[in-house]
Symmetry: C2
Subunit: 137 residues, 2 copies
DNA sequence: ATACATGCAAATCATTTGCGCAGTC
DNA sequence: GACTGCGCAAATGATTTGCATGTAT
């Protein structure tokens, strides 16, 4: 009934596509979406499909080389800076900034008594107006 | 060039459907999705469409009677407790708890110096394992 | 009477997946 | 050669929208 060898996650071989995708995410601070990465990849490898981009971004996330971010704007963003850090999102233009401050280690403790369960982590995103949008209005 | 009367957002008349949808959201602490609300509404009004549920949830959000929440699980959640408060999401079962503590007023200030722009608000969600999931394993 | 609201179905949007072929180990 | 990864296109899932008709004011 069970397969003789359980299916491994594999993720072994590497590919030019994956290398390129990783380079592109690593080469920007814009926290791009899969769509944007796809457009960039296509500049040098025009036949790469969007599905391949999604698949590889997911593989890279499993490998811990990129992190997947959800800012609630409808599409997922990717970040090659995988050290734990917070983000600031501009409510006008949607741009994202990395925050250079260390994570607030005390937050989980500050709420643990009002949760029935164990608090393991938190997601914190700051929202406001970026300096560029302030100037343009 | 301009229409004689600018199109108002309106949102005036009320409907049995909207009343029912609001009652259902107000009557639960489960932070339901539109899908769940739809199933509930149908118990008393079987012909209500999912589109109507979405439209009315959005209207209620504009009116400030419900709030829309995104926990990154793929679907939007709705909450009739509109006072500012944080949530705790179980990473195993996806259940959501309201936190009874006041928002951390100091957070925005703690990061404002490392943001180029103005920090107006933050989104904070705590993640962990709820007591029910702890027991079941 | 005049809008706004509804039900239905089709359209969108982001993301995922099945499949036959190509590339890597 | 055995498998993993790719390109393509179709499938999925959540949400939105166009339209003809119903309903509240």
């Amino acid at each position: 009934m069970n397969p003789p060898h359980p299916k491994k996650p594999a993720v072994t071989k590497h590919s030019k596509q994956r290398d390129r995708i990783y380079d592109i995410v690593r080469g920007t601070r814009s926290h791009p979406t899969a769509e944007w990465v796809h457009e960039e990849v296509r500049r040098s490898m025009p036949r790469v499909s969007l599905g391949t981009v999604y698949r590889n971004l997911h593989v890279l996330a499993l490998q811990g080389r990129v992190m997947e971010l959800d800012f609630g704007d409808g599409s997922r963003h990717y970040d090659a800076f995988t050290d734990e850090h917070y983000h600031f999102v501009c409510e006008r233009c949607g741009s994202v900034q990395d925050l250079d401050i260390p994570p607030f280690a005390d937050l989980n403790d500050r709420v643990s008594s009002s949760v029935s369960g164990i608090v393991r982590s938190h997601r914190l995103v700051f929202v406001g107006v970026c300096s560029s949008c302030q100037q343009h209005q």
